[in-house]
């Protein structure tokens, strides 16, 4: 199989596995235990925290380990809202195409009396710092804007947005789940107060993530209980997962430029080739996009059928099609960038990693046009 669904999840790297296995097999203590087996686990946890901190340019104590990106997003928004409530500030700014972990948390806050401004993202899928600046009000308690979009791959100007927020004295959170390990992160230079990441998006394990919280920003527990994570996230720490995530992130950061160059070349070849398909359109910004992200709409095509036939042709891909999600509405991201419903149903996302090979791109470029043509041939609405 050609795996081209790395935005959904990645295969663990040998480096990450090598960090995980000893912690699973031998170093199994509970970091809260005083005895040496526990303290060895505590040391692993601390080294992982330090490694993560080096990758983000923050202090180890500013890293809060969570069970993934969704939990990190939820806790970031809960914390900012709690703070806003205390200060009587109940306005939040975000974008129309955030991940559901953010959008659904915002919905919950709306029910609790918060007011949410979702900035429009325009046809290429981005927002400007100017848009954010204009939306900030005296009662704004949080700006949450993703670093890179998971479906269409557009990269947002978070450094500029961070600067605008810092100047206005408003908390800035970014969902960097798709960016971490693939794009440079420097929470200081980028003026980030909170940042979410998830291990399995950069060849680390599933079920583990982190929230960076700038020192001084008060954080609210989502999960109450023991005093783990300095009392801000209860539950016995997933030491093997955390160790593996840290190793994966260090590895990704060490090879970021090299991987980026390689993956971008594959991506651009794929984009050029698929653009040849009649009535196709690239979604997202052609240049300012994640190295591995390719996303097209093909008119007259329904996404799920496309995926099933590509799977049969040995290609793992994804779609923003409604039918793939169990809902009947197509991707909110494609609708946000202005694709009509009927077109949004026919989207294809191919997301590459540095492990994809040039021959795989060639194979994809042979199969996608064939399958698109076949499906159009059996469509009642498509007549060339």
């Amino acid at each position: 199989m050609i795996y081209a669904d790395n935005a959904a999840t990645t295969k663990m790297s040998p480096v990450a596995l090598a960090a995980m296995l000893p912690a699973l097999e031998d170093n199994y203590g509970n970091p809260s235990s005083l005895h040496s087996v526990g303290q060895h686990a505590a040391e692993l946890l601390q080294s992982a925290r330090e490694a993560m901190a080096r990758c983000l340019n923050c202090k180890p104590r500013e890293i809060l380990f969570t069970s993934g990106g969704s939990e990190a997003d939820n806790q970031a928004l809960l914390s900012a809202a709690e703070l806003g409530r205390l200060k009587g500030k109940k306005h939040i700014i975000s974008t129309a195409f955030e991940h559901h972990a953010v959008l659904h948390s915002l919905k919950r806050l709306e029910k609790q009396g918060f007011e949410v401004t979702l900035l429009p993202v325009g046809p290429t899928g981005t927002v400007t710092a100017q848009q954010v600046k204009e939306a900030i009000r005296p009662d704004t308690c949080l700006v949450t804007v993703m670093y890179a979009n998971n479906e269409i791959g557009s990269i947002l100007p978070i450094e500029e947005i961070g600067a605008v927020c810092r100047e206005a004295g408003v908390l800035f959170h970014t969902d960097a789940v798709q960016a971490t390990g693939h794009l440079p992160i420097d929470v200081k230079a980028q003026h980030i107060d909170m940042l979410s990441l998830s291990g399995h998006k950069f060849h680390g394990p599933k079920g583990v993530g982190a929230l960076y919280v700038r020192q001084g920003v008060p954080i609210t527990s989502l999960i109450e209980g023991g005093a783990q994570e300095r009392g801000k996230r209860a539950g016995t720490e997933n030491v093997p997962g955390i160790a593996a995530m840290a190793a994966a992130l260090e590895d990704a950061c060490a090879h970021m430029e090299e991987n980026r160059a390689k993956v971008t070349a594959l991506r651009d070849k794929l984009i050029a080739g698929l653009s040849q398909i009649p009535h196709s359109a690239l979604n997202g910004d052609p240049v300012n996009r994640l190295p591995g992200n390719v996303n097209f709409c093909f008119e007259g095509i329904e996404g799920e059928s496309l995926l099933l036939l590509l799977d049969d042709a040995g290609i793992c891909a994804s779609s923003g099609s409604a039918c793939t999600s169990g809902s009947l509405d197509p991707s909110h991201v494609l609708l946000a960038i202005g694709r009509p419903h009927e077109v949004a149903h026919g989207s294809l996302r191919l997301s590459l990693s540095e492990w994809n090979q040039p021959w795989e791109i060639d194979h994809i470029l042979r199969e996608v046009p064939r399958v698109v043509a076949y499906l159009r041939s059996m469509s009642p609405v498509w007549k060339d």
Partner: protein, 145 residues
């Protein structure tokens, strides 16, 4: 793929009776492009018997498989037999569909009815309007099931 039964996958990968019938006696189309699924059914009818049937579908795997299965179920049958085919029967013949995909089988049932209605209309045959679905395009909401 665990998502679909082997029968669904077989009908999806090798759909029976795909295409159009240029001189069809009845043609029906249901669904809505906005919702991501349109099904068109072509019937060739002689002496009240469906001699040939073809379909064109824009939709998901289960929509294509449902169309294919439905054509097989009515081919060679009388109009009354075809009208008696329900979406439940299509689902059963397919060995089951995921819950959120049941509406695809509804489209299959409705596209047959719609094509037969078109045949009745063309030939001035009386029928009970309440037993037939509304024409395509009048769908208010995408949530059919």
């Amino acid at each position: 793929m665990a998502l679909y039964t082997d029968t669904v996958m077989d009908h999806f990968m090798h759909p029976r009776n795909v295409g159009e019938i240029a001189d069809a006696d009845g043609v029906g189309q249901v669904g809505n492009a906005k919702c991501g699924d349109i099904m068109k059914m072509y019937l060739k009818i002689k002496d009240g018997v469906i001699e040939d049937v073809k379909f064109e579908t824009f939709g998901c795997g289960s929509a294509i498989a449902s169309s294919s299965m439905a054509t097989e179920m009515i081919k060679g049958k009388t109009i009354d037999e075809a009208l008696a085919v329900t979406n439940r029967q299509v689902v059963e013949a397919l060995g089951g569909l995921p819950a959120h995909k049941l509406h695809c089988s509804v489209l299959a049932e409705e596209s047959i009815k719609s094509a037969i209605k078109n045949y009745y209309d063309r030939n001035g045959i009386e029928y009970d309007h309440s037993k037939f679905p509304d024409d395509c395009g009048e769908v208010e909401s995408c949530r059919m099931v």
